[in-house]
Symmetry: C2
Subunit: 353 residues, 2 copies
C-alpha cells in the first residue's frame, strides 16, 4: 500500500501489506535492521510485550492492525466465529502493556466497529480493516500536525533535549517529539539534539541516535544522569518528550526519567514540552488508578538483554514509566494545537471540543 | 602490615606491603577480584587514570603511597637524585585526574615532607614513607569518624539512596557515605539501601552492590533515571553521597548525576547528606576555576568498556562530575562533625578550627 503524505516517510516502522502487519524490530536497532511480517495476533502481541514494537502511538496502531490482520486471515469463517476470534484478539492485545493509553483507545475503536450489525463475514472484515487503516493514516497525519504546531516553538539555534525515543520508531511514521524536530529541520532551522541514552532499554542511544543520523540532524548522546550538567552549562534551550498517557489534570506519564528531566528544566527555566496525539489523553482515569508497568528485572541487571553489569541475584526495581506533575509542563503539543495550563480545563476543551 | 581499627576491615582496597602499593582493581569488579602490586609510580598513575583505583579519598591515599613506594625503590640513590625522582613522581601523579581535591591535598602533604632538610636518602625515605602511612591510617580513622557522626542521622527503618560508590572501594577502607551505612548497620539499625547504577562506569551496579552484599546489608539496584520514581513513591527516606571536592561556598562536586538526585530530594523534602573527609574541602578554588574532567567518549558509547550500545561514531559528552549547589545540601558529614548551613562560614570554621 503506497500512501502519500506531506513529507517523505524515511523510516517504515509499521506497514499493512497484503493482509499482514510488517514492522521493524526496534529491539535489534541500530545493530540490525530486521523487518518482520505476521498475521498472527499472538505474535504481534509478543512483539509489543518484548518491545520489538514500542512507543505509545505505535503500540496503538500495531494493535489495530493486528485486529485487521486477524479479520483478514479468518474472513472465510462464519460471521459468529469470526466475531469470537476478533473479541479474543482484542482481549489478548489489551493484556500486552498496561500504561500506554493509545493501546486501549485504539482497541476500543476496533471493538466499536465489531459491535455493529453485519450481514456476513466479508462486510465485517472490510469494516475492521477500514477502521485499522484509518487509525494508521490518522496517526501519520497526526504526527505531521504535531510537528507543524510544535515547530512554531523552535527557534533557529535551539538545542533540544529529548528522552527515550518519541520518533518515527515510536509511531507509524515521523514521531511526536521528533516530528517537531523534523519539521523544524525541514524548515531550515539550524538545530541540535541532545539525546539521553534512556536506561534500561536504551531507546535514546539505540533508536533516537539512529533515527536522527538518518535525517542528518546533529545529535549528541549523554547518559541519563548528565541532564543536570548540560542544563547547568546552558547547553539546552528546550526539552521535548513524548507521552504514554496524559491525565485530565495534566500529569504526564512517560518513560522513566522524564520526571527528573522536567524538574531540572524547571530549575533552569528551560521550557519543557510534551508532544503527543490526543489519543494519549485519558480524561477518565484518576492518577491513583494508573498502572505503572514493572518490567523484567534483568533489563536493569543486563544491558542489551545479554551483558550482565552487576551481581546476577541483586534485587532490582524496573518501573517503565514515571509521572511528571503539571506544574513542570510548559505546554502539550497535540495535532489539535498547543495546549497550555491550566490543563484541568484546557485538555478537556481540546479533546472534547 | 597489620593494623587494628575499631571495626574489622573486610575489603582491602589499598595496602602497603613491603615497599609496594597493593590495590584491588575496581574496574574488574564484581566479575573478577584482582589485586595488583606495584612500586612503579607510572603504573599507579595509570591505575588512577583508568579507574582501577577511584574515589576521591582512595586516589589521594594511593598517590601518597605511590610516592612512598618510589622513595623505597630508589632509597639507595644519592639524596639529590632521590629528590628529583620524587618531584617527578609527584608531578606525574598530579596529572592523573583534575577534579578530586584529595589528590592535590595528599600530594601537597608529600611535597612538604620533601621540602625539609635531610642528611641522607635513608632519612628522607623514612620520612616520606611515614607521611604516606600517616595519610593512609588517617583516612581509615577519618572514615570511621564519618561513619559514627553520620550514623546519628540514620534511624531504624530508613531507606538510604546512594549514588556511585562512596564506599570502602573509594577509600582505604569503610568508605564515606557507606561508612555511615556500615556503622548504622553495626549498631543494629534495620536499614536498606537503594543504589543507582551510575552510568557510564557503573560504580553503583558494580561496586556498591558488591560491597553491600559482602556486609549483608539489603540493597536494591535502580537505573539513574529511576530516582524520581522511587522518591515520589515514598521509598526513600534519606540520601547520602560522597564528594570529590567541596568548595568554600558549599558547592559539592561529585559523580555525574548527583545534582539531579539532590534536586529531586529537595522536591520531596528528603534530607540530602554529603559524607566526605575535610581533605575534600577546597577553601581556595572559586567555582569558575574548578575543572570538571571530560573522559573518553567510548565510556558512554560502550558499557563495561567493550559492549557498544549505540552507533560507534555518535558525538558524546562525558563529564565525570557535576556541581550540586549548597541550597540542596542538608548537611555535610566530616570526621570533625556534621556541618550545617550556612556553609560559607561553617566550612571554614571546621576546616581551619
Amino acid at each position: 500500500m503506497e500512501l502519500k503524505f506531506k513529507y517523505p516517510i524515511k523510516i517504515k516502522t509499521l506497514e499493512w501489506i497484503d493482509g499482514k502487519v510488517r514492522w521493524i524490530d526496534t529491539s535489534k536497532l541500530p545493530f540490525e535492521e530486521i523487518y518482520i511480517e505476521s498475521d498472527d495476533y499472538e505474535r504481534i502481541a509478543k512483539a509489543i510485550e518484548d518491545m520489538e514494537i514500542r512507543g505509545a502511538p505505535a503500540i496503538g496502531v500495531a494493535a489495530a492492525l493486528a485486529i485487521a490482520a486477524t479479520a483478514y486471515k479468518y474472513r472465510s469463517l462464519p460471521l459468529n466465529e469470526l466475531k469470537i476470534k476478533l473479541i479474543k484478539a482484542i482481549e489478548r492485545l489489551r493484556q500486552t502493556r498496561p500504561t500506554a493509553y493509545n493501546l486501549f483507545w485504539a482497541l476500543e475503536r476496533m471493538a466499536k466497529v465489531l459491535e455493529k450489525e453485519y450481514n456476513d463475514s466479508d462486510t465485517l472484515c472490510r469494516a475492521i480493516i477500514e477502521e485499522a487503516l484509518k487509525i494508521y493514516v490518522e496517526d501519520i497525519n497526526t504526527n505531521i500536525a504535531i510537528g507543524e504546531y510544535g515547530a512554531k516553538l523552535i527557534e533557529d539555534g535551539d538545542t533540544v533535549l529529548t528522552h527515550c525515543n518519541a520518533g518515527a520508531l515510536a509511531t507509524s511514521a515521523f514521531g511526536t517529539a521528533l516530528a517537531i524536530i523534523r519539521v523544524a529541520w525541514y524548515q531550515g532551522k539550524k538545530i541540535k539534539v541532545i539525546a539521553t541514552e534512556t536506561r534500561p532499554v536504551l531507546q535514546g542511544a539505540r533508536l533516537t541516535v539512529w533515527e536522527l543520523k538518518k535525517e542528518g540532524i546533529p545529535v549528541i548522546l549523554i547518559t541519563d544522569n548528565m541532564v543536570g550538567y548540560v542544563m547547568s552549562k546552558g547547553l539546552v534551550t528546550k526539552v521535548i518528550v513524548g507521552a504514554d498517557r496524559i491525565l485530565s489534570t495534566g500529569h504526564v506519564i512517560n518513560k522513566i526519567g522524564t520526571y527528573m528531566i522536567a524538574l531540572t528544566a524547571k530549575r533552569h527555566n528551560i521550557p519543557f514540552y510534551v508532544a503527543a496525539p490526543t489519543s494519549t489523553i485519558d480524561l477518565r482515569t484518576p492518577i491513583a488508578q494508573v498502572i505503572i508497568e514493572e518490567r523484567d528485572p534483568d533489563e536493569v541487571r543486563k544491558v542489551l538483554g545479554r551483558v550482565l553489569i552487576t551481581l546476577e541475584d541483586v534485587e532490582v526495581l524496573n518501573p517503565a514509566f514515571d509521572i511528571t506533575p503539571p506544574d513542570l509542563v510548559t505546554a502539550i503539543v497535540t495535532e489539535k494545537g498547543i495546549i497550555y495550563p491550566p490543563y484541568e480545563t484546557n485538555l478537556k476543551r481540546v479533546v472534547e471540543g
